[in-house]
Amino acid sequence: MDWLSNQIGPDWARAVGQLVGINVGFVVVLMIVAYTVLAERRVLGFLQGRLGPNRVGPGGLFQPFADLLKFIFKEEITPAASTRFIYFLAPIIAITAALMPIIVYPFGPEVSLPFVGKFHLVIARFDIALLYVLGITSVGVYGVALAGWSSNSKYSLMGGLRAAAQMISYELSLGLSLVGVVLISGTLDLYSIVEQQGGWFGLRWNLWDVTRVPQVVGFVTYLISAIAETNRVPFDLPEAETELVAGFHTEYSALKFALFFMAEYVNMFTVSMLATTLFLGGWQGPFVDVFPWIGIVWFLLKVTFFLFLYIWLRGTLPRFRFDQLMSFGWKFLLPVAILNVILTATVLYFRWS
């Protein structure tokens, strides 16, 4: 690092370091996503009393690569009546908005490496990390909505409209359920939020930290709105296959469909990372202060728990009706999230005064 910063100046050296970090992060996340898809198919198979894909490689381990090859060699079909520019733009927006937030999540404590020195295991750390995540998430709606509109198909349009309405509605309760954590932490920087959850043998998580204000209600509302925000069962109305064929991506094929597919799973992954970071203490866990690298294991274990929860729900729950979805979001989830904010603020006020 020192050599590089002598050559091109400290600013550029830091930029190069972050670019390397971002690329490594993207590759790792995409690999995890590929195996999440495999895990989903195997676990769903288990839940439904069948095997799932187990032919390619030992136990189906190479199935994601087979899928990728298939996606690449499928025929690219563009509907004749589509709005071409937006039709191609939509999957790009979807995957970009899904991948951008992953850079702010801290996945480990401060570690040291030979030749590099001490550094924090987080790609980018800045003042508004949480707002950045929320902002990028809210831009992600365009991918889905524009895909539905530009395909020029009734099913796609219905799917796109449903997705836009659903994501706007649940974004509110999603954002409000996080306010409680921000109130007790006093910062939007995700690394500091995780650092504050240290103690109690690494188990002093915001979820049940009784020395501050336990965020159980915030956690539950966040989890529900996050599932709705990623369009997963039981909130997968935008792609309800019994009503809308495949919803907003009905007219997409080959790699463009693969981009939407990946975006959905990357979104699942980032949403799980946010839940881990804010409510379950991020990389905090037993023995982190003795051996810092174990933080990565705790972090991935907690994220895996959420990913499993997603798959479990998909194998268990039926789908909502659209009006039920809307009234649940606006008339139940939003008031509960606001109540949590008021409650947390009140307790904090009396504790400070």
Partner: protein
């Protein structure tokens, strides 16, 4: 090796992006393309704020404008399926020289400021990078809830009023469908054994009013406005 600083590069990049998207927004004839270009403008403006040490404003810009307001605009365009606008001949001819004149004045002003060089630009003290914490979330929050509390609260009340006004405007046209004491003058249509309304093909206003009355009795609908019910009578 001498490289331009990163923030200079980013400023030029996102400034060009903002200008390009702004021109595209005005020039496009398809309203959806214009809306997307406007989103592009907002996002590149947010990036410009970031290079100017104002991260909070940048985040709010993206969340509020790009993520909420423009999504609604795109939603409406998609719902109404707005057609491409037809180019009409320009009617207000005298506006063209005025526009050209104003543009020339603006360009001249900018050139004048730049040509002054050290004498002109130096009078504006540039913000020292990273030394200022004005743009940080904590300082904005502190300012908003202490020094600028009254403007903040007044603005909130204003927005609340706009919200209530919009809802009452939107409801007025639809009141006949909802329960209104003035609407429910006729005998309700037949109810089935389970207390549900039996709808037949050919049922019209009477059925709707009966349904509305049912809603009112069950407490499912709010009280209507008087104006709409009078309109219904006449």
């Amino acid at each position: 090796m001498e490289l331009p600083s990163i923030s200079q590069l980013l400023f030029v990049l996102f400034g060009a992006m903002a200008l390009g998207c702004a021109v595209a927004m005005v020039a496009q004839r398809n309203p959806l393309y214009s809306a997307i270009s406007l989103v592009g403008v907002f996002v590149s403006l947010a990036c410009l704020y970031l290079t100017l040490q104002a991260p909070f404003i940048a985040a709010v810009q993206v969340i509020v404008y790009a993520g909420a307001i423009m999504v609604l605009v795109v939603f409406v365009i998609m719902l109404l399926n707005v057609e491409e606008e037809v180019r009409r001949p320009v009617r207000l001819h005298y506006l063209i020289p005025v526009g050209v004149l104003l543009a020339a004045i603006l360009v001249g002003e900018a050139a004048f400021m730049l040509s002054l060089g050290s004498g002109g630009a130096a009078r504006v003290t540039p913000m020292a990078p990273a030394a200022s914490d004005i743009g940080l979330t904590a300082s904005i929050g502190t300012g908003m809830f202490t020094k600028y509390l009254l403007p903040f609260e007044v603005t909130s009340v204003l927005i609340l009023m706009a919200l209530v006004g919009a809802i009452s405007l939107a409801r007025q046209g639809r009141t006949p469908l909802l329960a209104a004491p003035g609407n429910v003058s006729e005998e309700p249509a037949a109810l089935t054994a389970g207390g549900e309304l039996a709808l037949k093909p050919g049922d019209t206003a009477a059925t709707g009013r009966a349904f509305a009355r049912q809603q009112l009795e069950r407490g499912e609908a709010a009280a209507p406005s008087r104006a709409a019910s009078e309109e219904d009578e006449g």
